[in-house]
Amino acid sequence: MVKFIFVCLLAISSVLFAAPMSFKGSVTSMSDIGKRHTFIETNYAYDIKSAIGVKFFHMDNNNRIRDGVEINHIHRLLRENKKHSQMNWWLFGGIGYLEGSNEAIKDKQLSTAFVSPGLQWDYETKRVYALASHQLIRGDSINHDMTQLKAGFSFYETGFNQTQPWFILEMANINGITPQVEITPTIRLINKQLFLEAGVSNMGNPKVHVMYTF
């Protein structure tokens, strides 16, 4: 059932997102599409610092499959606004249900409730960007840690209405799903509501991140 809903959502939505949440009253949808991990998420910022959302995800490394859905909450712990920079600390977490399989139990399917607390730090100027995040996924027979590091620079500064190109290097790992740290050089394009990243990892896997804020 979870897989069916997930596939339907992917089919009807070509919009992907990456930022945890946007301004108060906004709806932000985000998604990553990759060979081993794909998700689609939408959240609503009901407050300056908080958003509530729903997320569907799929993990697959041929031996282990995870299809999950979670209700999550995002909270901005700290934002430091300066003249030419912004730094944030985010705390997020969800509670959900997933189905899947492990190679150890062969054809037997597993299903479990899970929790997924996480922490993210990011720093950005008009020319430099950095992010570090770590999220746990814990349930019965489920023990994944999702770690992501991103850093990069913009090729040049642009005006508010222009598209700004960036180069971002991403390092990501999901223990138990990815065989090693996956390094992906990406090109990021930002134009107001739309945020797009695309690249190919050191393992030859294409990855796409898209964000849109309504």
Binding site: A19, K24, N81, K83, G159, F160, N191
Partner: protein, 103 residues
């Protein structure tokens, strides 16, 4: 009489129309700062909004009088940023836009 009313309306609007320059900390990318433009544009009194990321300011051109500064601060704060200064300027938002876009 009707012409007089139209003339009075025009004069009143011209006299009280105000443009405000809002200096903002933390505006580093268009994707993040779009909330400011959206929220200010929603105000019924707004004529035009211009966001300048490079210099870190927003121009709010109003149809009539200037918007209360506390209201502006609340809108910018709700968008996730900090206001450092609000001042009245004589130029329109479009005039400022032209000035900086030409650079």
């Amino acid at each position: 009489m009707k012409k007089l009313l139209v003339l009075l309306t025009f004069l009143t609007t011209s006299i009280f129309a105000a443009t405000q320059k809002i200096e903002v900390n933390g505006m580093v990318c268009a994707f993040c700062a779009q909330g400011i433009e959206k929220s200010l544009s929603k105000l019924e009194t707004t004529q035009d909004v211009y966001v300048n990321l490079d210099e870190g300011f927003v121009i709010l051109e109003n149809k009539t009088e200037a918007v209360n500064e506390d209201k502006i601060r609340a809108i910018i704060t709700d968008s996730g940023y900090d206001v450092t200064k609000i001042s009245l300027i004589k130029e329109t938002a479009n005039a400022v836009r032209q000035k900086y876009e030409k650079k």
